[in-house]
């Protein structure tokens, strides 16, 4: 019931980050997530913003993280890998459902016409 009451609405950037890490699967960490978003959006992404979004998602229990092993090319620092939780997947589906239903209500915009 508490879960139902505490609905986690996703911001635009949070949704992009969550979708990117779902696409990446086991290889989702800061660099790959930001590159994935850059490739799709065509815009440079600030790694700090990606981490801020990931931290917010983790606070909402939508993603979990774990540290990998440190490597020399990263100055001896570990990668932080992220994965979506079941709740995160549910949230993405719910957001997609809402957006699709809203989209269907705008026939003038169908087919990519703005």
């Amino acid at each position: 019931m508490e879960q139902m009451a505490r609905h986690n609405s996703l911001g635009e950037f949070e949704l992009m980050v969550l979708l990117a890490l779902i696409r990446l699967g086991d290889d989702a960490y800061g660099v790959t997530i930001s590159r994935e978003i850059e490739n799709c959006s065509g815009r440079e992404v600030a790694l700090g913003s990606v981490y801020a979004a990931l931290d917010r998602l983790e606070e909402k229990d939508l993603v979990r993280s774990k540290l990998g092993d440190p490597t020399a090319s990263r100055g001896g620092r570990a990668k932080r890998y992220f994965r979506s939780t079941q709740q995160g997947l549910r949230e993405v589906r719910e957001t997609q459902r809402v957006l699709m239903s809203l989209w269907r209500g705008l026939p003038a915009l169908e087919g990519g016409k703005a």
Binding site: V31, G48, D55, R74, R77, L89
Partner: protein, 201 residues
């Protein structure tokens, strides 16, 4: 393996402002991207963005205390300004208050740039609580600094044979603005229902 060296000032900022330690994976990601061919300008941009994002997040975590601090300081400044305009030895008071204000702002910005908040991971962090110690160090400094300032204020009042009423009034605002937030600070307590990262989806 011959690795490129990132620009020293940016690295210094990352280390000095706590991102290299407080959010090591982010610092590692920046370095990895730089090693893979990103430009120096990119590294600087990302560094400043990381610092700005961290400061914003810290301010959000400490918003309650920042609010109390701002109200306390604004009230203090208002009262001091009125006293300054009316009856206090203006040069002495003006110099002292302005110096203290500048130092406090610099310290506040420095405090916010440090990692008040750290990400939850499973290997290094025993606690899920936000790391607010830096802010409380600052808060403690504020109490000591303003306490000293107000003692001087009271001394000047006695020497100039002025009424201490304004001084007492300022003291009470200082108390509400700085002591009370420290008294109601959150204590360590276990976070509800968090699992380790092993139980991932």
């Amino acid at each position: 393996m011959n690795l490129r060296k990132p620009p020293v000032p940016a690295t210094w900022l990352l280390t000095r402002l706590g991102i290299a330690d407080g959010n090591a994976p982010l610092a590692g990601d920046l370095l990895e991207e730089f090693q893979s061919g990103r430009s120096v300008a990119w590294y600087y941009r990302q560094t400043f963005m990381a610092i700005a994002t961290g400061m914003y997040r810290n301010a959000w975590v400490a918003r309650r205390y920042l609010g109390a601090f701002s109200i306390g300081y604004a009230a203090q400044a208002g009262v001091a300004f009125i006293l300054w305009r009316n009856s206090w030895p203006s040069v002495l008071h003006g110099i002292a208050f302005t110096t203290l204000a500048v130092v406090m702002v610099i310290l506040l910005l420095g405090t916010l740039s440090r990692p008040l908040w750290r990400p939850r991971d499973t290997k290094h962090l025993g606690s899920d609580l936000p790391k607010l110690e830096s802010f409380f160090e600052f808060s403690f400094f504020a109490v000591v600094a303003f306490g000293s300032y107000l003692m001087m204020y009271g001394l000047v009042a006695l020497l100039w044979r002025q009424s201490l009423r304004e001084w007492a009034y300022t003291e009470s605002i200082w108390f509400l603005g700085f002591i009370v937030p420290d008294l109601i600070r959150p204590r360590s307590q276990p976070r509800r229902g968090r699992q380790s990262a092993r139980g991932q989806a």
